[in-house]
Symmetry: C2
Subunit: 332 residues, 2 copies
Amino acid sequence: MTTISAVAKAAGVSVSTVSHVLNKTRYVSPEKVKLVMDTVEAIGYIPNALARSLKLSSTGTIGLAISAISNPYFSDIICAIEAECSKRGLIVFLCDTQDDPDRELELVQHLHQRRVDGIILAASGDPKRSLDYLIESDLPCVLVDRLSDSRFDQVGTDNVAAIRTLVDHLVALRHKRVGIILGQPGFATTVERMNAFRAAMTEKGIEVPDDLISDSNNNTADATASTHRLLELKEPPTAILASNNLTMIGAMRAIRERKLRVPADISVLGIDDFEWADYFEPRLTLMAQPCDEIGRKAADLLIERIGNKRRPCQTVRLSPVLRLRESCGEAA
Amino acid sequence: MTTISAVAKAAGVSVSTVSHVLNKTRYVSPEKVKLVMDTVEAIGYIPNALARSLKLSSTGTIGLAISAISNPYFSDIICAIEAECSKRGLIVFLCDTQDDPDRELELVQHLHQRRVDGIILAASGDPKRSLDYLIESDLPCVLVDRLSDSRFDQVGTDNVAAIRTLVDHLVALRHKRVGIILGQPGFATTVERMNAFRAAMTEKGIEVPDDLISDSNNNTADATASTHRLLELKEPPTAILASNNLTMIGAMRAIRERKLRVPADISVLGIDDFEWADYFEPRLTLMAQPCDEIGRKAADLLIERIGNKRRPCQTVRLSPVLRLRESCGEAA
DNA sequence: CATCGAAACGTTTGCGCAATCGTTTTTTTC
DNA sequence: GAAAAAAACGATTGCGCAAACGTTTCGATG
């Protein structure tokens, strides 16, 4: 592997001249610049970013610790973050915490060892240890999706608005018995969406019996089971609200298994849009989360914070967008 | 930031003892081990992986340069690669080349600067410069999905088998006029699938007129336009084969815009499965690519190659799986 | 024409670590 | 009890680089 001093020797100049030419950190005569550049080209020199980072104590690297990178919602966020970072010359370490708090802490520490300039974290259900560690080690961090700690910058969807819009839509169609399929317990999003649902319904003067609220759905299979349970009630719901993309897939499976027609037999709607939702039946009415914006904003905030660790923290709630389709009808 | 010598000073031992305790690289008496470990804990020492890598000239890092990380197909592969690497203590740099050969080369060089131990690349349409660079710099690399250069280890789907299975299915249903919506020209996958289609049809004694073959679909919108063109033919196809997930979405859009029923008016099938495909209409018959296996195998091969740069290259074709649903009917 | 200052470049150090080489102390052996 | 061997640890170097500090050269100035 060639080094800067190999270049210096080959060009007959000092290492500092080569360094300054490459980094444009001080004036070097045009002839020497050309000489150095030609030599770099000739011997195929590639700077060693490790040595550079060690010296500068800054790596131009950020860590992305996401609870489930295969979820399309997070995929979109990851994509936006990568794009934004790439634009700023940063590069991203991608890690999947698999929603495991132990693993999450390990990964955060691992990223710290690698001296990332900052971390973007989609926290697990029990993130306390990881978050405390981040605070103690003074590592810049922004939280995405699950917003649970005001000691950090945070970016997510305005869940209250999302749920309220959906409830408004249902109530306008005279639905009173609405079942909700929530996500994993412990997640800030689950709690927020549940509370927002209760609040929105109460506001409309509609009571929400506990048996229409189903949380603890950690995957599509759980959501399918929960939906079956809802539909077996003496007084089953006339509409089902799926609180994210996974629970929606699970709910639709149950509905299909029961050979129910949407929206004739039951209305369905939820949070998270699908790219194909316009072209397949039933065409689901959904609230699209602004994944691009979330990712971009998260990267922005992190870069700001890396620049100024003492800036006060912000919590940013971005607005979801209603995609009104045909999966909800009038209540019987 | 604490260093190894701060630990040494605080513990009253030498830096080499601390180093050896942390890396278990030579015997140290139990008392000193405990002393060192306690001191590490007490002052919150976190090793600097940069300095370690600089010394060892190995980073435990691999680069992932993917042509479109938001595509669910690649998301799944990325997820599998990350999981496999994580298991082996490696960490992944994620980059999106956006199918741009210039950008691809830049990213490869950038990853090289950061001294990744190896690269997994989903090559762009014109990857020659990047690939030549990788060969010249002797950087371990494995190609995924688009297999175009036997100088590298390669992992992808058996596209011939995928297309043949689909064609068999269509021919069994007496289809003779089959339109195919191919992906971006230049991609190895596009070429392979086109040739496999021609071969499979010819084998069945069916002629394939050029106007039923539509390539140059770089996104869903192009695929929609191409599908419209196919359906406007004097003798339109009785079946449409979409060669990947993006073209499928585009094709379905066109079919919906024309208010055609699947499979009553037209049969549809393609490559790439969707998680929701069982629960929405039309329920598409698809060939699922083995994304998990591809990702895992790619990581395996890369790690092997990092261990032995002179090992001969392998090209691995993994078998796709037919998900037979109801989007194809008998030809009129 | 001595002096000063600026222009252009070189020498060297230290970032934090692994591991080579070296030293001291203890144990074994005959 | 002296020599050899083993056990346990320490001092130092070099990985490749940025940049602080130092040196040389040359034109400008009074």
